[in-house]
């Protein structure tokens, strides 16, 4: 087990900067997830921790020791790849023991580690099979097993579940969570799937275009996003964004009028500096923060396009009179039958025109 510290870490490919001075402090035994859309630099960041990519600037420390110039094998890390990266010509047992055998580890110790990994991952009965004879989930277990036998200080996962089907993904997610509890090792996990990030992480690092947008525990990011990007990225279905304008302000907060709905005004308490009257803002409302008419701060008239029934809850895909798309979460029992409804905004977030949260 070891902490991992990224101090102003940058990566450039020629003149193109893909990671802009990342600062992250990962605690000993913590499960940290890097999440963001494709091309945001999350995998590059992970590969820099692993030593598979050179660092263009800054410092990476594992267990308190700067590892910028340390070979990947000497960093005390093990990595699980998206494509599993199993050795196709070797059996499961050989895949697990290959690294240890090649480095002259005593046979008894190698056997012990392989047996333990196989037991943890419940793959003991697959030891003689080649990877092509395994299912996707089994291959993923072997890939994780190969990381376990190294007994690393830090586990690195690079989108390990993206090649699995939805059901298996949920199952493996639970397995990885269990593994973290069992081993207690520091884990750094990369994914583009915010559900995976929310369910696995102690803390999430949200990245966009090589910049860290916010770091925090999953629920904190969900309930207290720093900006429009984090607010939109974390949560499914994503937060609704409705254009608005400041029409009044006092010591306690501001009064916001929603675009195209002159009668819909929201009072938003602010502790910081309030923007000028007339400033354009964006109001963010999570699907579950819509209530029945009169329940909340302001009522919004929307036309319903599609209703998705998920069992206990339903999602109404609707449109405001101004043409903005909104998703409203309702109990299945409360699904309206009329094509137009009045939904009330019970809780909202305010962002300035640059996308920063107004608090």
């Amino acid at each position: 087990m070891a902490p991992v510290t990224l101090n102003n870490v940058a990566k450039r490919f020629g003149a193109f900067e893909v990671v802009h001075g990342a600062n992250i402090d990962i605690k000993d035994g913590e499960f940290v997830v890097f999440v963001g859309p494709s091309g945001c630099g999350k995998s590059t960041l992970l590969r820099m921790i692993a030593g598979l990519e050179d660092i263009s600037g800054g410092e990476i420390a594992i267990g308190g020791k700067v590892v910028n110039d340390v070979e990947p094998a000497d960093r005390g890390i093990a990595m699980v790849f998206q494509s599993y990266a199993l050795y196709p010509h070797m059996s499961v047992e050989q895949n697990l023991s290959f690294g240890l055998r090649m480095t002259g580890n005593p046979k008894a110790d190698t056997d012990r580690r392989v047996k333990r990994a196989a037991e943890i991952l419940r793959i003991s009965e697959l030891m003689d099979r080649r990877p092509k004879k395994l299912s996707g989930g089994q291959r993923q277990r072997v890939a994780i097993g190969r990381a376990i036998v190294r007994e690393p200080q830090v586990f690195l996962f690079d989108e390990p579940l993206s090649n699995l089907d939805a059901e298996l993904r949920v199952q493996m997610r639970v397995e990885i969570s269990r593994l973290h509890k069992e081993l207690g090792t520091t884990m750094v996990y990369v994914t583009h799937d915010q559900t995976e990030a929310m369910t696995l992480a102690d803390r999430i690092v949200v990245l966009r275009a090589g910049h860290i947008e916010q770091i925090g525990p999953p629920l904190e990011l969900y309930e207290n996003p720093d900006n429009l990007f984090v607010a939109g990225f974390v949560g499914s279905p994503k937060m609704n964004f409705i254009k608005g304008r400041i029409v009044g302000r006092d010591a306690r907060g501001v009064l916001v009028e929603l675009a195209g709905q002159e009668k819909t005004r929201i009072t938003q308490p602010l502790t910081g500096t309030a923007p000028e009257v007339g400033s354009k803002v964006i109001v963010g409302v999570r699907p579950e923060h819509f209530g029945d008419a009169g329940e909340g701060d302001a009522d919004l008239v929307v036309g319903i396009d599609v209703i998705e029934h998920l069992g206990g809850t339903s999602f109404l895909y609707a449109r405001t009179v101004h043409g903005e798309d909104v998703v409203i979460q309702r109990d299945a029992a409360k699904v309206p039958e009329t094509p137009e409804i009045t939904a009330s905004i019970r809780k909202s977030y305010l962002f300035d025109d640059k996308g920063l949260r107004l608090r």
Binding site: A50, L52, P72, A73, D74, I77, A78, M79, F81, Q82, S83, A85, L86, Y87, P88, H89, F98, G99, L100, M102, T103, R146, R150
Partner: protein, 286 residues
């Protein structure tokens, strides 16, 4: 459906006709000719005439010995060399990779007569650059064309020069199909580059290596151009005569088509047998 098949066959007919006349029929015909005494006209059916001669003919065994010698020495050396070339071509450190790839492949497209003439000049006793180089480092000149061992070495060098690059390109294609993250996983497993080559690259390339080896075996069994053009029809004194050359000598110089056909079938049978043994030895064990 039947009608559609008939149309397809009508389109295929010109090709099938040419294939039958110039491929299938000669194969059948030469098999039948191998059972005929063709030294005198009219030819007559005499099954033991050619096949019997084959068993006791010192010229055949000389050609067979030369061919197998080239096969046993040149093919492994060439494949090993091709492997080294492929690894170098695959190296990310190499600049102007496209140029090297072309350069390694170029010998295959050079005309056989032209390259043989250049080799004869390069290895010439008094004027060749090879002997000049040997002299410059204090080694004696070698008469490449008058002694059997140097002549055989010359044939092997020429064939290797011509085909090593070709095989390297095939091996390179195989190497590039091995996913990079397998090597990254091995690097994280502290496996050295050399061990990665022997424990990952070579086993994963096995099907490609077998393919190159089988192609080379078939090519060597038919070897003709180099001993014909470089060492002047298998010289000195039949020292570099291969089965291909023996076949040519019997068929087109002595016009003994029956014996030439028997040699041709022997060559094909040997190529098939050696290839089968090779495939069996390198089969994937379950």
């Amino acid at each position: 459906m039947r009608n559609r098949n008939a149309t397809a066959y009508r389109f295929l007919a010109p090709y099938l006709l040419i294939f039958s006349v110039f491929w299938v029929w000669p194969i059948i015909s030469s098999f039948m000719i191998s059972f005929q005494a063709t030294r005198t006209v009219p030819w007559r059916f005499a099954p033991g005439f050619n096949w019997g001669r084959l068993i006791g003919d010192p010229a055949f065994f000389n050609a067979l010995k030369n061919t197998l010698l080239i096969l046993v020495i040149q093919v492994p050396v060439m494949i090993a060399l091709a492997m080294v070339m492929a690894v170098l071509l695959n190296s990310p450190l190499l600049k102007a990779r496209g140029l090297y790839r072309f350069a390694f492949f170029a010998p295959v497209v050079v005309g056989e007569v032209a390259y043989s003439a250049v080799f004869r000049l390069m290895f010439s006793l008094d004027f060749g650059i090879v002997n000049k180089l040997l002299n410059s480092i204090g080694l004696p000149k070698i008469d490449w064309f008058s002694n059997v061992t140097p002549a055989m070495a010359l044939i092997m060098i020429a064939v290797t020069w011509r085909w090593a690059g070709y095989n390297a390109i095939i091996l390179l294609a195989g190497m590039q199909s091995i996913p990079e993250d397998v090597y990254e996983a091995a690097t994280l497993d502290r496996v050295s580059k050399l061990k990665q080559f022997f424990y990952i690259t070579v086993p994963l390339l096995k099907p490609v290596i077998v393919f190159c080896t089988v192609l080379s075996i078939i090519g060597t069994m038919q070897l003709f151009t180099e001993p014909f053009l470089i060492t002047e029809r298998g010289g000195p004194g039949g020292g570099t005569e291969t089965l291909g050359l023996l076949l040519y000598r019997q068929g087109f110089r002595s016009l003994n088509f029956g014996y030439a056909s028997a040699v041709a079938y022997t060559m094909a049978a040997l190529a098939i047998a050696i290839t089968l043994v090779q495939l069996w030895l390198t089969r994937e064990k379950q």
